[in-house]
């Protein structure tokens, strides 16, 4: 009765359903492109910088005449929708963006379509930060966490590189260093790497067993010992804007987020960025096509455009991302390539979420 009731009150359901996803791998690339143009539209589920990505997708729209719609949504919201749509014959999602480290916790073959139809390009990246997504996903957005700092207060050579040096900085400049623990991954990447180095726990083991979490205790004590000297910020954006305002001197940030804000004139251009030697998480985001995508041809063509060397160079220039195509030019990145060797792999779930809950409860909540 309830189902009938809801259907009778559903006044406006705008989405029109196209034909079921044709099997692309058997078609030649030109046929795929012609079918994509027939489909004429695609929906790309990506959860961050949606305004700027819409502007970036304009060049694709002009080139192929296929309109790209990017809905608003959080990462969790999109994931929830992905699982909810799985049961339907044709879902709403054509291109699905996902954080690279989440590919370990998703059953790729059951969810996504193999991207074999795309023309061969060995420079693409499907194995990133120790996770190989096979042919189900390609990385399109390399990002690296690090520390953004205000050069007017700290010069290049006395930048803290290890937990001890950070503690010393906190001591000498109280409340000048801040990091977030929610609304964005930059702060978590920072405190997780400090926990790793201080406690020496094995971060490749994903188990969230009691002992594994208990091993982190030295790191937890480290943070609580210096609680008064550092500040907790509200989100990625909050950390960076507070450096730009001059309230903070240093704060963890995403390389691409900082570059994007600087290019758009939101924050001061002179803010610098570096990866401390103790290492901070790097990774990226990938794209793939759900099995029941309504416009799979258009999706394939879009992905091909997205990870082409030309687009990756534009992304590097405009968003400061680490390019995910070997042939792309990465000269506009904020940091020299040599420093990228300090990039570490972020720990896997469920260990990571258990660690985040433990840090929130035993450090943030104690303040």
């Amino acid at each position: 009765m309830i189902k009938k009731l809801l259907i009778s009150t559903a006044v406006i359901v705008a989405t029109t359903q196209m034909a079921a996803a044709a099997d692309l791998s058997s078609m030649s690339w030109d046929d795929v492109v012609t079918q994509a143009k027939e489909e004429g539209e695609l929906t790309w589920y990506v959860w961050y910088l949606t305004d700027d990505l819409r502007r970036a997708a304009k060049t694709f729209e002009e080139e192929y005449g296929i309109t790209v719609t990017i809905p608003e949504g959080t990462m969790e919201g999109n994931l929830e929708k992905l699982y909810a749509d799985k049961a339907r014959k044709t879902g709403d999602i054509d291109v699905f963006a996902l954080g690279w480290d989440s590919y370990t916790s998703v059953d790729l073959s059951a969810m996504f379509m193999p991207l074999t139809a795309l023309p061969k390009d060995d420079n693409r990246v499907s194995d990133l930060a120790g996770i190989d997504a096979g042919e189900y996903a390609f990385a399109f957005w390399g990002n690296q966490t690090g520390i953004a700092y205000d050069p007017t207060h700290i010069t290049g050579d006395d930048l803290p590189q290890t937990p001890k040096e950070f503690a010393a900085f906190w001591q000498s400049h109280p409340e000048k260093f801040g990091f977030n623990y929610q609304n964005g991954g930059s702060g978590p990447s920072y405190y997780q790497n400090i926990l790793r180095v201080v406690s020496g726990a094995d971060f490749s083991d994903p188990s969230d067993s009691k002992e594994h979490l208990a091993a982190l205790q030295p790191g937890i004590d480290f943070f609580n010992a210096h609680a008064e000297n550092y500040v907790i910020t509200a989100s990625n954006a909050d950390s960076i804007t507070r450096i730009s305002d001059g309230e903070l001197w240093m704060a963890p940030a995403w390389e691409d987020h900082l570059a994007g804000l600087q290019n758009r004139g939101e924050v001061r251009k002179d803010i610098k960025f570096y990866i401390p030697e103790m290492g901070m998480n790097g990774g990226g985001n990938g794209v793939s096509i759900p099995l029941n995508a309504p416009h799979s041809a258009a999706a394939a063509v879009f992905i091909n455009w997205l990870i082409s060397p030309e687009t990756q160079t534009v992304f590097n220039k405009e968003f400061g991302t680490a390019p995910m195509n070997a042939a792309a030019d990465d000269s506009f990145a904020l940091i020299p390539n040599a420093m990228r060797k300090y990039s570490t792999v972020s720990p896997n779930k469920p260990f990571r979420s258990a660690m985040e809950a433990k840090f929130t409860e035993e450090v943030v909540q104690q303040r």
């Binding site: 919201g77 500040v231 309230e247 409860e361 943030v364």
Partner: protein
Amino acid sequence: MTARQWITVTLLLMPGLGLIVWLIGTVVYIAFAQSFGLYNINGESALTTAYWADLLGNNIYLRSVRYSTYIGVMSAIFSVVLAYPLAIWLRKPFTGSMTIGSILKAPLLVHGLVAAFLFVNVISYHGILNQFMQWIGIWDGPHRLQNDNNAIAVLILQTWKNMPFALLLLTGALQGISDDVLDAARDLGAGSWARFRKIIAPLTVSGMQAAIVIIFIGAVSDFAFQVIAGPINRQSLAQLMVGYKGRGDWNSAAVVGATMIIVALFGSAILAGLSKIVMRGRLK
């Protein structure tokens, strides 16, 4: 009332009241059911108090309950305490009282989220408040006002948003008191304070209780103000619930939801009772 009339009345009530009771009833039922492990979305349902036990021991949850109740009570009190004298002052119309009334009720027109943004904008590191304080020399440098720890920002926002609502209800209640009754009290020797305590307060208790209850429930279940302007190290019940739901942990979200309903009901009952005692001198 014959049986036929009963049938027509129930049929008439079905689409309106019926749906309300169904939706709210189902929602509350699911909240409590899921908090005990039943009616699960994915996976099997089994009656268990594990979720409650787990959360009742969890520091974040306990702080969240205390924090949301603190916000709820303070917002209700501030809003009503501010609205009361204004309502009494505006009871008798005088030149300009209409404009003052509409100015004071203006915040009702502004959406909560917008209010939060405007407020955060004003108290931001380089906002106008910091600049003004520096300009007149009280502060030597800009102060960090945003996301302050004891949630003064959230309380200011709640009061900014709820005071007009309390004013609306109290003005309505005050209009129920005829001038003659107040003149009679004065004629019998009651000064202005005695008139307030003996006549105005008791007769506006029900209006005030309604205001306190609705504002308290609204403030306890606040999400937007907390997320935008609230302190970092504490979460409101709604924020915690949405957080658990986001991580797919529906059962913990249900426990927090159930707690919110309990706090809302018992809290408002206690506040209503207290306000009656304060205003009327006895609980009758």
